[in-house]
């Protein structure tokens, strides 16, 4: 197991290296940071000083090595726009995005899996047909439109929930959480639904098709022939056999939720990393963009590792090195 984890981390290294190269290339070749930072009026001496300060007079590979060295230490330089350390900005914004993403993922799984099981078991009931129709909406409507419709309904017309922001947040060390106050929780509901709806319908459709597949198998028929209660057959034998593909997709989707919270955060003015990113794009704030890119890559790599480990937990056939049959 340990060897497996080590080998996966070693495999992740080239991925991270490639992403960092792209991030760095962005740094070096997209726009001229010096021109952005100096503004309208500057002397040649000021320009030279800044170029030296930023190390831009060094050769490409030296710059890349410096960038890598700093990145490994979590040091991504100063934001051009806010003139604050990028790492600090991201650490400040990460709790908002992570809380939003985890809530969205929780909604997607806690609602999507049971709906998938139900529609798989009772294919022809009217409720299944309703779920499937509803899921088409979830799949086909763009996120920003869902967000705006939710705001229109629940904030503008009904006035139940806030339309933007995070509400009151409590600070737990460096982490800021919205879970501890009523206004924080209320502020989380609409964006979490908006962000999770697509994943919810995706997971529901995936679980449904996997259930249909598994329910046809001989071992399910045999479980019925052994007289096991339906609850055991459906949720024990059948659902567990659908889990491997569901874990794969759910893991990738969690990465996607974190990475692509941008739209939702923009619609709800959610003070997370996605909003920071989109504002940075507007200002060509390359250090923030590069750091964000690398962070998202790290998130995907980590989630993939966890997904692989979960396979082992779920499917005994993947656990090698035990005495086999003959």
């Amino acid at each position: 197991m340990f060897a497996f984890i080590v080998s996966r981390i070693l495999q992740a290294l080239p991925v991270m290296l490639t992403v960092s190269l792209i991030s760095f290339a962005m740094f070096a070749y997209v726009g001229d940071p010096v021109a952005i930072m100096l503004g309208q009026d500057f002397t040649e001496a000021q320009r030279q000083a800044l170029v030296q300060q930023l190390g831009l007079d060094q050769p490409f590979f030296v710059q890349f090595a410096t960038f890598l060295g700093n990145a490994v230490q979590g040091e991504f330089g100063l934001s051009y726009r806010l003139s604050r350390p990028v790492a600090e900005l991201i650490a400040e914004r990460a709790p908002a995005t992570l809380e939003l993403a985890l809530c969205a993922a929780f909604i997607a799984l806690a609602v999507g899996v049971p709906m998938g099981v139900y529609t798989g078991l009772y294919r022809h009931s009217w409720l299944s047909r309703f779920f499937l129709t509803f899921s088409l909406i979830g799949v086909s409507l763009p996120t920003f439109l869902i967000g705006i419709l939710l705001i229109l309904t629940f904030s503008v017309w009904l006035g139940w929930l806030p339309s933007f922001g995070r509400g009151d947040v409590a600070r737990l060390g460096w982490w800021s959480t919205g879970f501890l106050s009523w206004s924080g929780i209320k502020a989380l509901i609409l964006p979490a639904i908006t962000l999770g709806l697509f994943q919810l319908t995706l997971i529901m459709r995936l679980v449904r098709s996997e259930m249909l597949e598994v329910l046809r198998t001989d071992y399910i028929k045999f479980a019925r022939a052994r007289g096991l209660p339906n609850r055991m057959v459906h949720f024990g034998h059948a659902l567990k056999n659908t889990l491997v593909p569901v874990i794969t997709i759910a893991g990738l989707q969690l990465g996607a939720i974190i990475a692509f919270a941008i739209v939702t955060e923009t619609v709800f003015q959610w003070p997370g990393m996605g909003l920071l990113f989109i504002q940075s794009v507007g200002a060509a704030d390359i250090p923030v963009m590069a750091a964000y890119l690398m962070l998202i890559a790290a998130v995907f790599v980590t989630i993939n590792l966890i997904v692989d480990l979960l396979y082992y937990a779920v499917d005994p056939r993947l656990r090698i090195g035990r005495g086999g049959g003959h």
Binding site: R224, G227, G236, P316
Partner: protein, 336 residues
């Protein structure tokens, strides 16, 4: 179990009351192009401790009969007429939950392919324990003890260790032994074995059949043994029913059916088995193929292939008639 030898005569019942009684069973599949009749007027009995072999070509309705008995016909298939009774009680019209309690507890089932019948994600021990605790009033510790006992009984070496193994850690033959243990662990009175050896190596087939036969005898379990292997039937069954196009066309004591088959189809079937006693140049074969369910000819369904067909066969459907040692659905035995 009774020590008296049950030697049922020609297709007729021995003196005891039947354990399973199937009467005029008709199974239909509604399709877009009309209703297919998969089983038509199927009647037979199985007595306590008796082994009934059911033979026939693929699609003759053997497995369908088994599925109807355990109440697990694949939808949209349904029982359209007739009855199935277990120990005198109708079971074909029970609600799902009541029938579920009978499955496993009173009627066990063994499926064809042991590689796919076991859930790959659970240990064999867990699958045995859940079956035992579902049907018998025992706690988890006792259920586990019995699970190990059953694995020993079906001949799994080092059962106490193997109980925690997963299905993929067993060979095909060993898995079928586990399936047999699963089918028998709640001590049902009847086992429906649907081609239990078809998916196994020939060398393993004999072992598994011997095991089934031994356990059925020791536990006094009656068995409906569905197969297309006459050798297995001859070795294992007390009586045999021959099916063709969804109907039973001959039924009788196994010796009589093998030695003096009355129905031309059964005779053809027997002729296609290579004899051991002498060498034959060429095995007999039955020309043509069994009709599709959507195109069963009027009269006797075997009439297009029958070498002894006459005009009555083309229009009227024969019932099972006394035909010497067996009962056969053939106009040749019409007393009139």
């Amino acid at each position: 179990m009774s020590e008296t030898e049950t030697l049922p005569a020609a297709g007729s019942a021995p003196a005891t009351a039947p354990l399973l009684s199937v009467r005029n069973l008709r199974v239909e599949f509604p399709t877009r192009r009309g209703t297919l009749v998969a089983l038509d007027d199927v009647s037979f009995d199985i007595h306590p401790g008796e082994v009934l072999g059911v033979v026939g070509e693929s699609g003759a309705g053997k497995s369908m009969t088994g599925a109807a008995i355990i109440g697990l016909l694949e939808p949209p298939g349904r029982i359209a007429a007739g009855s199935i009774s277990l120990a005198g009680k109708r079971i074909d019209n029970l609600p799902y939950e009541q029938m579920r309690r009978i499955r496993g507890r009173e009627i066990g089932a063994i499926f064809q392919d042991p590689l796919t019948t076991l859930n790959p994600l659970y240990t064999v021990g867990r699958q045995l324990v859940e079956t035992i605790t579902t049907h018998l009033p025992v706690g988890p510790a006792e259920a586990r003890r019995r699970a190990i006992e059953w694995l020993e009984l079906v001949g799994i070496p080092a059962a106490a260790q193997r109980v925690d193994s997963y299905p993929h850690e067993f060979s095909g033959g060993m898995r079928q032994r586990v399936v047999i243990a699963l089918a028998l662990c709640a001590e049902p009175k009847l086992v429906v074995a649907d081609e239990p050896t078809t998916a196994l190596d020939v060398s393993i087939q004999a072992q598994v059949i011997a095991l089934l036969k031994r356990l059925a005898r020791e536990k006094g379990t009656a068995m409906m043994l569905v197969t297309h292997d006459m050798g297995v039937i001859a070795e294992t069954a007390d009586r045999v029913a021959v099916m063709y196009a969804g109907r039973i066309i001959e039924i009788g004591a196994v010796r009589s059916v093998v030695k003096e088959a009355a129905h031309p189809y059964t005779a053809g079937l027997m002729g296609s088995i290579p004899p051991i006693s002498h060498r034959v140049e060429r095995l007999e074969q039955i020309d043509g193929a069994m009709p599709r369910l959507s195109a069963i000819p009027p009269g006797c369904p075997y009439n297009p292939r029958c070498p002894r067909v006459f005009d009555k066969c083309l229009t009227l459907r024969p019932e099972l008639l006394d035909a010497g040692a067996t009962r056969a659905a053939c106009w040749l035995y019409d007393p009139k």
